[in-house]
Symmetry: D3
């Protein structure tokens, strides 16, 4: 169905990205997302460059970033992304209790988002300071 | 447009929730979301009870929970919720640098969610361990 | 900003649709949605024809149909559609108590949708009978 | 993949919720959604409490509430929820003709929501009465 | 699971639509979408009539229209629609390079949509000319 | 409300991006989206770099890319993005008739996406060739 570019078949420019993914993540495999993007090497390079920059430790720690990724992926219902970023969060130390609370917040936010829309709630002036 | 139940007009069962909101949050005002829900006291009580339980400190800290709330609200494009939970996160200590990284992760997740869908990427067996 | 085709400026093919809208709804005015679509008469005619067929009384009564429309519009956060179909539902008899319950169901469904995604719940075989 | 808590393995606090689900619904089984939530008993109890309150007969009848649930679930594309709430609606008497009309309204609402956004239609003052 | 109305079992009003689909598309088969809609012939006829009108060559060529369809379907994460309209676009001449660029635009638009929401960017007056 | 970094106040790294935007687009102004991103220069540089690469002429022409951007933005209901990319498409030659057809396709795709979900249509094997 979906054509994946395996490491053994990867042209040099793709192989270089795969190698950087493995080195950056200190792992020995490349997940399917990258093997699918590799059908268009410019996209592979661009997206990996974005992920590497955005997901690096910074003002937010890597686990928090993975949980934010999960929040977006569940809200958008992207099965692949839910699976991959939940695994990523667990690999960074997320406990079962943290995952349960993450899902509870995601669920409730989706509920109150619609209540705010449905009741057409005007934004409080205090919230607009910045 | 939207009818809001001000504290001065609140019947006792609504006033009791407003008082609990202020006590729990250690603040002296109630934001418009609750004043809109108060049109239906059973909904006001139910949603406040959910928020109080879900947003309490637990396995995740309150700031992380607020940022997850912002991630969902931006993905769903709920203006009120973006304003209120961004303010909530700032009140809990979120810096400008953290907000910028939060938005960068949210944006990128929304992008890769669609690339995963569009390329129909099969879930790696390693991600399905749990 | 948005160019609206007022009744007084409407060419005959647009005027004919406006007249059918007013006759079908037994009202004396046309709301802005149609005046915006009228910029492209083929779209105006096509969408009105769809609305007239789909929203007519049938196996479901008109009020139920309006509330379903509100449920979709709130989930998608379409301000215009929330305002117009909430007004439509009220015109067909929806009470404040019904609106409050409608919003409660919409909110909760948006929450459990994400919990089902996040927990990756397998569909029970009993649900797949038809 | 997803760990489900079967009734035979359920700790007492989970078993109590399962029993209440079966008693309230007058059925002899518990569907997978609850067995997945049971991994975090506090979430199981909280969500069941919400569902029990919101989906009870009130100003809206239970079948209408199930159809609203289907409308949200289809708009969000939650496969599990579409399957479970469509089955729930059929169990409450929804006919094939009603389901077809429900889907027709959902589809059309999703279409006109985008036309309203795309044409940036200003809200008619008459719709803002309440 | 989903009941499909095969051509051999189709009543005359359904068969007439199937024949028009095949004639219009100059093909010898009908895809499952129509066989599912055929459970409610009025919906089958209505949706086919809409598709036939909207997807016909006009101010936009058919390939551009298929790519727009793919953009919406990926954003909404409709697996069936992604598969069918991607196939439709390829049948109309879309190359692998075009598909890769299409997906790149879709992904980036989904990202910047959220950045615009999250930063609450005010619309430039110059954009509101029409 | 939203803090925008005007050209006159821009630090050198921001000014450099603004200058590249103006040179690339052969225009003399910078729209608000970039002035909001400029609060976090790393994000400004990263997103501009992505836009410059993805929106450049390639296998798809710039007008087609702008229309795809509009399709995503309307589906997500991002007001800013609808305004800016509709203006962008008009600046690249989009006619009123093309805009009307673009919106018609977007609307219909949003409708049939939900019908495909609601009827749970199985993907035709012929669509899975690639």
């Amino acid at each position: 169905m979906t054509r994946l570019i395996e490491e053994s078949d990867a042209p040099p420019e793709v192989k270089a990205v795969y190698d950087d993914i493995k080195a950056t993540r200190q792992t020995d495999w490349v997940n399917n997302f990258w093997k699918a993007l590799a059908r268009h090497p410019a996209t592979l390079k661009r997206i990996w460059s974005n992920i590497k920059e955005v997901m690096a430790p910074g003002a937010l720690d890597p686990l928090t970033k993975e949980m934010i990724y999960v929040a977006v992926s569940i809200t958008n219902n992207c099965s692949y992304c839910i699976a991959s970023h939940s695994a990523g969060a667990r690999a960074k130390g997320m406990t079962d209790a943290q995952y349960a609370e993450l899902l509870a917040v995601i669920g409730l936010a989706n509920e109150t988002n619609r209540l705010a829309n449905g009741y057409n709630v005007p934004i409080d002036p205090k919230f607009l300071a910045d």
